[in-house]
């Protein structure tokens, strides 16, 4: 019922789409996969009227949508869940769900109807907050659920989901799948974009693969093996995603005692990491994992507690202890989007390497070259603004920025959020390499597969407290989910 044909779209300097096609039938769940920067989001923006194609045809039920506006695409029955959250956090959850489509009479908003209707959609996606709650009070993951509820409420015929699960954990993802299956039964189609191939396998009727702005192939239900997908995406095998080798652990590298975060001031967190160890933190959305990392790094200073012998009150103090932190939201907190690759890479170590008050240019140039090489960062040059790099490469720049300081402890919050499988593999290899060289790594992830693949040990959080720990030998999805959802005595 939706066909896009021969779509071409260029941006200054890049040709994002070089004539791709996509077809979606009624009640079909089509997954769209591809590396970072393959053009998935661009095509979705074109379908939903946010951008218009340079060339090509979009048709919905026989009607052309090639030059449609957002509203026209909406009326035609298309809804988009954005990859980057697009909500107004000064409004209530309900107001966000119906933003731009408020039930109203002569401009007068029907508040009651908004409350009732949005409560319905919230329960569908499993978000247990009242519709009057201010959006700013929700965590990133919860906000993503609101974004999904918003799309559902449009009663669209086709819902496009651009990485809806990137900040969701197992529980919410299952809830989401339930919703999608229900939609399918009701004859509603879904275009699903994700870098989590297991999800794709489980969910889709068909997989479309993009590579470098072109169609790289399609896989039917029977052909959807992990290997086949990866091969079409990356053009090579990525069979060994998680490669861990055993090595000896060193001294204690990080000791956190009695840490009480601002979000959960009544729960104490204690943990210890040894040099060379990789520890994962699992838990549901809003379990308080990010808060713990942020408190350790002094970003939102903790209410009480000690990291080693003191409480870091600013990132600077934490850095002095040899800590480094890659935040969850790379655009808001990780990168300086309008500085270039070189300047972003050198930012954290700039002071340390300065010649008096002056920037040490030769060191900066060398550092950037070294890091681009070591982390295989794909950029046209050190002068490129960080804004214009793909997500995976942006993530690597943030890593590079911290590695320049050779930290002893690396804190990673969702290190592969929105990163394609090829880059993921590279990031995992880097984590493994750093650990082997004696770095301690503490990482938060909502992807169980990733946690189990990479961690030596996993800590599970539930409602702000450390609910248990599992060794590699005890790993199972069931065990982790139990700890994440049930109170332990």
């Amino acid at each position: 019922m939706l066909t896009a044909h021969g779509i071409i779209k260029s941006f200054p300097g890049v040709m994002a789409l070089k004539g791709v096609s996509l077809e979606v039938g009624r009640g079909e769940v089509v997954s769209l996969i591809g590396e970072n920067g393959a053009g998935k989001s661009t095509l979705m923006k074109i379908l939903s009227g946010i951008q218009n194609p340079d060339e090509g045809e979009v048709e919905m039920e026989g009607k052309s949508l090639s030059a449609a506006s957002v509203t026209e695409a909406q009326t035609a029955g298309l809804a988009l869940i954005h990859q980057e959250l697009n909500l107004a956090d000064n409004l209530s959850v309900g107001a966000n769900i119906f933003l731009g489509r408020e039930p109203c009479r002569f401009g007068w908003i029907d508040q009651k109807k908004i409350r009732q209707e949005s409560a319905k959609y919230l329960s569908k996606v499993g978000l247990k907050v009242p519709p009057e709650t201010l959006l700013s009070e929700l965590s990133l993951g919860q906000q993503q659920l609101v974004e999904i509820a918003k799309a559902l409420s449009t009663r669209a015929k086709i819902i496009i989901m651009d990485e809806p699960s990137s900040s969701l954990s197992q529980g919410e993802v299952e809830m989401l799948f339930e919703v999608i299956r229900e939609l399918r039964k009701g004859g509603i189609s879904v275009i699903y974009i994700s870098h989590r191939l297991a999800e794709v396998q489980e969910l889709s009727d068909r997989v479309v693969v993009f590579r470098d702005g072109e169609n790289a192939g399609e896989l039917g239900p029977e052909e959807m093996s992990h290997e086949a997908m990866v091969r079409l995406m990356v053009g090579r095998d990525v069979s060994q995603l998680y490669q861990r080798t055993a090595h000896d652990l060193g001294e204690t590298a990080l000791a956190v005692n009695g840490l009480r975060t601002q979000a959960n001031p009544y729960e104490e967190v204690n943990l210890e990491l040894r040099a060379g160890e990789i520890v994962g933190i699992a838990g549901l959305v809003g379990a308080g994992r990010s808060e713990v990392l942020e408190a350790i790094f002094g970003m939102t200073p903790a209410v009480a507690g000690k990291v080693h012998s003191e409480l870091p009150k600013s990132p600077r103090e934490a850095m002095a202890m040899g800590l480094a932190f890659v935040p969850e939201d790379r655009k808001a907190k990780g990168l300086i989007l309008d500085l270039n690759v070189e300047q972003n890479t050198s930012l954290a170590s700039l002071g340390e390497n300065a010649k008096g008050p002056f920037v040490n240019r030769s060191h900066e140039v060398a550092l950037c070259e070294e890091m681009t090489e070591a982390l295989a960062i794909k950029t046209p040059g050190p002068w490129q603004k960080a804004r214009f790099l793909s997500g995976g490469n942006q993530q690597k720049i943030i890593l590079a920025k911290w590695l320049a300081l050779s930290p002893s402890v690396l804190l990673l919050d969702e290190p592969t959020r929105g990163v394609d499988i090829g880059s993921k593999e590279e990031i995992y290899q880097l984590m493994e390499k750093f650990a082997r060289e004696g770095m301690a790594i503490l990482f938060v992830s909502s992807e169980l597969e990733e946690i189990m693949g990479m961690a030596d040990r996993v800590l599970v959080m539930r409602e702000g407290r450390l609910n248990g720990a599992l060794d590699r030998s005890q790993f199972s999805e069931q065990a982790i989910m139990d700890l994440a959802t049930k109170t332990q005595s």
């Binding site: 506006s69 988009l80 954005h82 933003l99 908003i109």
Partner: protein
């Protein structure tokens, strides 16, 4: 309520303080004065709060006050326009100015500060041009028209509600309904917070932003009209100087964040009232000198915003 509680407390405290240290502060005459002044500046402040809610700013308010305040009597007395026509023309021009600001900001993508800074210079300059820098006023004529600013709705023998205050109540009610009950108000708050999100939700953000500038300029025109009708004399080089800053200060006192996305009409009006009570206090209290006005107003403004911030922070914890 929560949002303007702080400023309300400030107003009440200032009120009590002034009734103690100021002579005859509570007299009917003085209260009428306060209501009228609050009305005049309050209208400007309500206008600019629309713009501030969208995350913009309007520095041209004082110059629009000048343009209308000088232009209307100029049309009427020098060019014999019928008063109604002159007033309509003034509002049309103000709306054109708002549209023009909106166009430059949304289509040409200039920054509001820059656009309205140019406006600040140009509208005053234009007024000085067409009036040839001559003082404007109605002389002793047109007192019916001037009733709009000087008239009162007598409630008791002593005390009457000034007409401008009634206008403020009407404009305030409209603004409140607009912002809190209609979709457009919601759109303004949404886009002030996250313009991209609002646009992607199918909201015509450009139109809404432009609308806010049109409202702001129109209320500035209403303010300018009332100022000249009340005082009957306007010198193009000075009339309305700095009024944008008073309006913005009142809006900020009233809880508008210059980052956009928040603000309440009631708070803004209370903010305007605080400024007027303060100025009144300086004149009525014995030991406050008239030339210290800036110091006192600035100081109280600062204390109020600091207190507000600290209280908010305490509440958050």
């Amino acid at each position: 309520m929560k949002k303007f509680l702080g400023i309300l407390v400030t107003l009440v405290l200032l009120y009590i303080l002034t009734s103690i240290i100021g002579d005859n502060f509570l007299s009917a005459y003085n209260q009428e004065q306060l209501l009228k002044r609050t009305a005049l500046y309050g209208l400007l402040a309500i206008g600019v709060s629309f713009v501030i809610i969208t995350g913009g700013i309007d520095l041209s308010i004082g110059s629009v006050v000048c343009l209308v305040g000088c232009g209307v009597p100029w049309l009427i007395t020098q060019h014999q326009w019928p008063p109604v026509m002159a007033v309509i023309a003034a509002f049309l021009v103000a709306m054109m100015i708002g549209l023009w600001h909106g166009f430059l900001i949304t289509k040409v993508k200039l920054q509001p500060f820059v656009v309205t800074l140019c406006g600040l210079l140009m509208y005053r300059g234009a007024t000085r041009g067409f009036t040839e820098d001559k003082t404007q006023g109605f002389g002793i004529t047109h007192s019916e028209l001037r009733e709009l600013a000087t008239g009162k709705l007598q409630l008791t023998e002593q005390f009457g509600l000034p007409v401008p205050f009634l206008l403020l109540l009407i404009a305030g009610a409209f603004a409140w309904i607009f912002l809190n009950k209609t979709v457009w108000g919601r759109y303004l708050f949404a886009l002030g917070n996250n313009e991209e999100a609002a646009r992607l939700s199918g909201i015509h953000t450009d139109r809404m932003v432009t609308l806010s500038y049109v409202i702001c300029s129109s209320l500035a025109a209403l303010g300018g009209l009332l100022f000249i009708l009340d005082g009957n004399s306007a010198q193009p080089s000075d009339f309305g100087n700095f009024y944008e800053l008073y309006a913005i200060a009142a809006a900020v006192l009233g809880g508008c964040s210059l980052r956009g996305g928040s603000g309440t009409v009631i708070g803004v009006v209370i903010g305007a009232a605080v400024m007027q009570v303060l100025k009144n206090m300086i004149n009525l209290a014995d030991w406050l000198k008239s030339h210290l006005e800036f110091l006192v107003v600035g100081g109280v403004l600062l204390v109020a915003v600091i207190a507000d911030e600290l209280v908010k922070r305490r509440v958050r914890k």
